[in-house]
Symmetry: C2
Subunit: 158 residues, 2 copies
């Protein structure tokens, strides 16, 4: 799985803890986790296309959260970064070799192996959709209650 998901979730949390009304630049967001700005920018653009962040162009531009963390699920972020495709890609090997002479009708329903993999992916997606970034923020603050203050203090010094 792409590092992009790790970066994207952390940046959304960072933006929430900052609570800034102004957009935050890619450079500053990248410095929060020492990430390479051009690569991070690609992920930020993907989050903007998905309607999770808003992008403001220009010298004083940057990114801000469009909706509260309660309304952003892990599934939203993973889909924004990885795309909506299934991880398991069936290449229809059932149609080749011993299946080559079978009637086309036999292939109208998805392969049962594909269905089994898809069932498991649905379980994964449901588990991602059941967790919001607000849940993750709450768990983090249970471990580090001063997280918001730390983030704002870091931001003022950087």
């Amino acid at each position: 799985m792409n590092e992009g998901v790790e970066w994207a979730v952390h940046v959304c949390l960072l933006l929430d803890w900052l609570g800034s009304d102004e957009p935050v630049s890619t450079t500053r967001l990248a410095s929060g986790y020492e990430l390479p700005p051009p690569y991070l920018n690609k992920q930020l653009q993907a989050l903007a296309r998905a309607g999770i962040l808003a992008s403001t162009p220009g010298a004083r531009g940057g990114f801000r959260l469009v909706r509260p963390l309660e309304k952003i699920t892990m599934m939203d972020v993973v889909t924004a970064i990885e795309g909506p495709d299934e991880a398991f890609q069936c290449t229809e090997i059932r149609r080749r070799g011993m299946g080559a002479n079978r009637a086309e009708r036999a292939f109208e329903v998805p392969c049962t192996v594909h269905t089994a993999m898809r069932n498991a992916e649905f379980a994964w997606r449901r588990a991602l959709a059941a967790q919001t970034l607000a849940d993750i923020r709450a768990r983090t603050e249970r471990l580090l209650p001063t997280m918001g203050e730390r983030v704002r203090a870091w931001y003022e010094l950087n």
Copy 2:
């Protein structure tokens, strides 16, 4: 996700439908789905290392199933082919940038973002472990009741 999983599950089903007491060669297994024998052989070796297939070396050698399909789950096959590593790999970005001066103690528990991704992967693994290859065989035979006969007829002609 690797094509190896698709190939591996289909080959296990093929071996079960054949019901041969003799090991079946990589070449014949590959021809069942028009797969490249050297690449398929890599996956078959992985299934053998995982104790799903037994490998017999030599000119008349090949592979056979070691246990009934009831005792092989989709999780067994995916782990054999993809390895046991988590798909989401946390690179510990929380320790960098704004986290750089935090006490080591703060990092003793896994990052809450990592935990969220892991929760979803557990759901995926549970769903894979809940499906045996016998379930898939049963679903296939419900759609194609003569599957076993077809496979054996193909084998005799090839």
